[in-house]
């Protein structure tokens, strides 16, 4: 038995093709991005080694910092929105009629492409014929904003579309975790006279703290690398007001063919994502992590 199940040739045959594929398309490119960041390179001609110049330039590049600010803005609000998703999931974890159907309805936008979502919301936000401003005008709002075309509203408008897209995703994750809590625990608390609110806050939330931590990482890292929706909806505009790190990287590399500088931005994005993950893991580490029930 053991001899058959530890046959090295078979293991290599089963694992190596995938490992080589990932090495070629994921792991090696990560390091190459950092390396290309040391080059002056327009993508076509030869590369010129310029040391840390790109990275030094990045540190004093206002557009980069503005796009980083926007990325962190989205990360912060996406994390704050988790509280709402968690509250909805807690409500749905009670014996509510039609809760399975409701969860599935909430999930639908998440299954659509960001391109389709972006195009749909461009129409919703259309200042003249869009759904939102028609509604606001009917409700008596005198001159509603032009949402995607104004610096002051563009990020909020994008954030609302992101909530629409991802709400169902997080509700499904929380619901799956809540389902894993043994019914006997909840029943015991009910017998002891705990109110639904106490059960939710003092029993359910602490028991799924591991999953909550995972979703915080997902929300923050997901926001930092957010791209498709913004690229299609505003292209980073108006006038750079909704530029994020990924869209700035894409513009530099594939837009104006500044491949060396684009690579440096891509590498900075990687470092930011990994560092943020690490910091959250440290900040939220507690002895509850390995809770048993």
């Amino acid at each position: 038995m053991d001899k058959v199940m530890s046959n090295k040739k078979v293991i290599a045959l089963y694992v190596l093709p995938s490992l080589i594929l990932l090495a070629g398309l994921v792991y090696i490119p990560i390091f190459l991005t950092g390396y290309y960041g040391l080059m002056d390179w327009n993508g076509v001609g030869p590369m010129t080694f310029i040391g840390l110049d790109n990275y030094i330039e990045l540190l004093s590049d206002d557009t980069f910092w503005y796009s980083a600010r926007n990325s962190f803005f989205l990360a912060f609000f996406s994390t704050a929105a988790l509280i709402v998703y968690l509250a909805v999931s807690l409500v749905l974890s009670a014996k509510i009629k039609g809760r399975e159907t409701l969860r599935k309805i909430y999930l639908i936008p998440m299954l659509l492409s960001s391109v389709a979502i972006a195009q749909l919301w461009i129409k919703i936000y259309d200042p003249n014929n869009g759904m939102l401003n028609s509604l606001l005008t009917t409700l008596g709002v005198e001159s509603p904003p032009a949402w995607l075309a104004e610096r002051g509203t563009v990020l909020i408008a994008i954030f609302i579309a992101i909530v629409w897209q991802y709400a169902g995703f997080y509700i499904i994750i929380y619901s799956a975790a809540l389902k894993g809590i043994p019914a006997s625990l909840i029943e015991a608390a009910e017998i002891d006279g705990a109110t639904p609110l106490q059960i939710a806050y003092k029993i359910k939330v602490p028991l799924i703290s591991g999953v909550i931590k995972t979703t915080i990482v997902l929300a923050i890292v997901g926001s930092l690398k957010y791209f498709d929706l913004i690229y299609v909806m505003t292209g980073g505009g108006p006038n750079g007001a909704s530029e994020v790190i990924a869209s700035y990287m894409y513009k530099q590399a594939f837009g104006i063919k500044n491949f060396g500088y684009g690579s440096a931005i891509g590498f900075a994005l990687l470092i930011l994502a990994l560092a943020t993950t690490f910091v959250i893991q440290k900040l939220t580490a507690s002895k509850n992590d390995n809770i048993q029930y």
Binding site: M1, L19, Y106, S113, L120, N128, L218, L270
Partner: protein, 282 residues
């Protein structure tokens, strides 16, 4: 008296709760209903009447027009081909890896698993330039193979994560019995294990399908000619040309999301399962 007060306030609370839950459902669904309606309208209706009105004449010809006149049908079949090929490749390769890691005995299985999982954290914008350069050297730019390989590599971590939970629950006795019967390891994998994992395989297939169908950046970066573009990138270009023809834009968007909605209608349980498994285990 106190009891009836309590139960009536409880009823009020429940109705309020349902109202909020219903409102969220409307917020999630209504934009899609609105999209469906404006995909059936002509410009005079869109610009002349309330955006909330039902379509006056249901202009299904909007759909026929974009399907036959634009390249939408071409993009659609490209999406089908690239999605199907990548899904098959990803699920087969991931099954091999998951089997070797969870069922076979070797020292490096832990570190190798970790290596696969790390791939899940990588932002694609941090690999895009080297990937572009790599494909250019291999002459794979503007070749669907570049997309299929990228989808397979980047969806592998999530697929393994979902498969793993199921593989770990399979009893050891299955393999023991197979080995006793003198079954080779390949036959064991293909004829015994793989058929047993059908439920979780269908979960990974549907999740991969959705991700690949919707992917944008890789196609936008590596594919330049219309004959290979997929729907996401295709509709993006197409809409650029039809800026003011809302009916055509609506119909195009509907065509791109209808396959997903159909899949959702029949397989929503599997989709929910896949999403839950992919992140809770992480």
């Amino acid at each position: 008296m106190a009891d009836t007060n309590k139960s009536s306030s409880r009823k009020l609370g429940m109705s309020l709760l349902y109202a909020v839950l219903g409102l969220i459902a409307v917020f999630q669904i209504y934009p899609l209903v609105w999209l469906f309606f404006f995909s059936l309208k002509g410009n005079s209706e869109i610009f002349g009447r309330s955006p909330f009105a039902l379509p006056e004449d249901w202009l299904f010809e909007n759909y026929a027009r974009v399907w036959f006149d634009g390249n939408i049908s071409q993009y659609f079949f490209n999406s089908v081909f690239i999605t199907a090929t990548s899904v098959i490749l990803t699920v087969i390769l991931a099954s091999f890896v998951t089997f070797a890691i969870t069922r076979m005995k070797w020292k490096l299985s832990g570190p190798v698993l970790l290596l696969f999982m790390v791939g899940y954290m990588i932002p694609i914008h941090s690999t895009l330039v080297p990937l572009f350069q790599f494909y250019r050297e291999l002459n794979l730019i503007d070749n669907p193979l570049s997309i299929i390989l990228a989808y397979t590599a980047y969806n592998m971590p999530l697929t393994i994560m979902i498969l793993m939970g199921f593989y770990r629950t399979l009893p050891r006795e299955i393999e023991e019995a197979a080995v006793m019967d003198g079954c080779s390891i390949h036959r064991m994998f293909f004829q015994i294990i793989l058929p047993m994992t059908k439920p979780v395989m269908s979960t990974t297939i549907i999740i991969n399908m959705i991700y690949n169908w919707n992917e944008f950046v890789f196609v936008n970066t590596f594919i330049s000619s219309d004959k290979y573009k997929t729907l996401t990138v295709g509709i993006q270009n197409f809409i650029g040309q039809y800026l003011t023809d809302w009916g055509a834009i609506g119909a195009t968007l509907m065509i791109s999301i209808i396959p997903i909605l159909i899949a959702f209608f029949f397989l929503s349980n599997r989709i929910v399962e896949g999403i839950a498994a992919g992140s809770v285990k992480g």
